[in-house]
């Protein structure tokens, strides 16, 4: 008998795979994409952070179960890889971490400290003292606008501001399409990392009101040093809309590898949250621990084992 499957740590994984069309099923225990001519392509599901399923795919029950067992996030995406729906372990798998995250978000003092840490990591310097979260957001907005303009100038891209309409994809200009495709890649792996670390994607500190608020919080820290320059670089070549996505994904994969993002992202989440200076809550003394010990995990804290 083979031993049971376990998820492996985020840092040992490849960032993402986009699957364009085909039936996704399990054959002999492996995750396989079968196209309509019967060609089978094995996907090394356990060593990938997230699988992006494009509109031409169908996923079987067994395939989804296998993805869950090895802790790989399945993300159903629309055009340019923009996320529609994901299945990992929505809501997170660790009550202690969720309570810790919620406690930080509920406490105004702690939340401000976390937000300040996010800006500090992002801009490489401490934000001005005695500012509220709203004021910090204002400073950030102006800086982001400036960064876009500077990058557009550096790569020689004509830039008329960040504009996109998810309902009318084709009306967006090339730089905006490239940016959307690039940020979609980043959001995918960030969500996978947040879930793997055992936190809730919905509980944000700067962002709020979206199922991925915390994903945007964390992704924004590294966005302007990773995927945004990549998007402008590709946009500068002025590729046809049909090729832009592929080129952006190739370049994103490179930048994720070069920046070792998958290895850094979970420690970064921990660093940001620990800035709140709150102790993670202890389990209540009368609470019942798991009846069966699952043995030593190979994966991250938030993975089911």
């Amino acid at each position: 008998m083979l031993p049971p499957l376990k998820p492996i740590a985020m840092k040992e994984r490849i960032s993402m795979i986009f699957i364009e069309y085909g039936e996704i099923d399990v054959l002999d225990g492996a995750f396989v994409v079968i196209d309509k001519t019967g060609v089978r392509t094995h996907i090394p599901i356990g060593s990938i952070a997230c699988i992006m399923l494009e509109p031409g795919t169908r996923v079987s029950h067994r395939a989804a179960a296998l993805a869950a067992r090895v802790g790989t996030l399945l993300v159903w995406v629309g055009e340019a890889g923009v996320r529609l729906y994901a299945s990992g372990q929505p809501g997170g798998a660790r009550s202690d971490r969720l309570l810790y995250q919620a406690k930080l978000a509920l406490d105004d003092q702690a939340r401000l400290k976390v937000v300040r840490k996010m800006y500090e990591l992002r801009f490489g310097e401490k934000p001005p003292e005695r500012r509220s979260v709203e004021q910090l957001r204002g400073i950030e907005g102006a800086r982001v606008k400036k960064t876009y303009e500077n990058l557009a100038k550096r790569y020689g891209v004509q830039w008329c501001g960040r504009r996109y309409d998810p309902s009318e994809w084709d009306t967006s200009d090339v730089p905006n399409t490239c940016l959307s495709a690039a940020t979609a890649c980043l959001y995918g792996i960030t969500e996978a990392a947040i879930l793997a670390a055992g936190y809730a994607p919905a509980v944000g500190f700067i962002h709020t009101g979206k199922p991925q608020s915390f994903v945007y919080d964390i992704a924004d820290i590294v966005k302007f040093e990773t995927v945004v320059p990549v998007a402008f670089q590709i946009a500068a070549k002025n590729p046809p809309q049909s090729q832009a996505e592929r080129l952006v994904r190739l370049a994103c994969r490179d930048v994720f590898r070069e920046s070792k993002l998958l290895g850094k992202i979970i420690p970064m989440i921990e660093e940001v949250l620990s800035a709140g200076e709150i102790e993670p809550p202890k389990p209540a003394p009368e609470a019942v621990a798991p009846a069966i010990d699952d043995g030593k995990p190979l994966g991250d804290a938030g993975h089911r084992h």
Binding site: I14, S15, I17, F18, I19, K36, T37, G38, V39, R40, T41, H42, I43, P44, R246, R249, L250, R253, D254, F256, R257
Partner: protein
């Protein structure tokens, strides 16, 4: 680290590969040559494989950490997934006859 797997290769190629590499199973060779030697060895494979087929894999600094080259006809063919190389397994029949 380098691995070469040959199938249906002529004995003279298999002997040749064993000059630089270790044959740990029938048709499976390992070694850790430099880039130049790797290219030299692969050239030997291209020249000597005849009706057989071979694959060579080695470690790189790409995201997957490896790359590979193939030669000859095989049901397994490399495919590119936005920069990540995977392998498709062709059905036995002609592709357009199945389904």
């Amino acid at each position: 680290m380098l691995v070469i797997v040959t199938e249906n290769a002529p004995p003279r190629l298999r002997g040749r590969l064993a000059v630089w590499l270790l044959e740990i199973r029938a048709g499976v060779y390992i070694g850790s040559p430099s880039k130049r030697l790797r290219e030299f060895i692969w050239n030997q494979v291209l020249e000597g494989v005849e009706d057989g087929n071979a694959v060579m894999a080695w470690n790189t600094n790409t995201e997957s950490g490896y790359d590979f080259l193939t030669v000859g006809k095989n049901r397994r063919v490399p495919v590119d997934f936005d920069g990540l190389r995977l392998v498709s397994f062709k059905p036995l029949d002609e592709p357009d006859k199945a389904l």
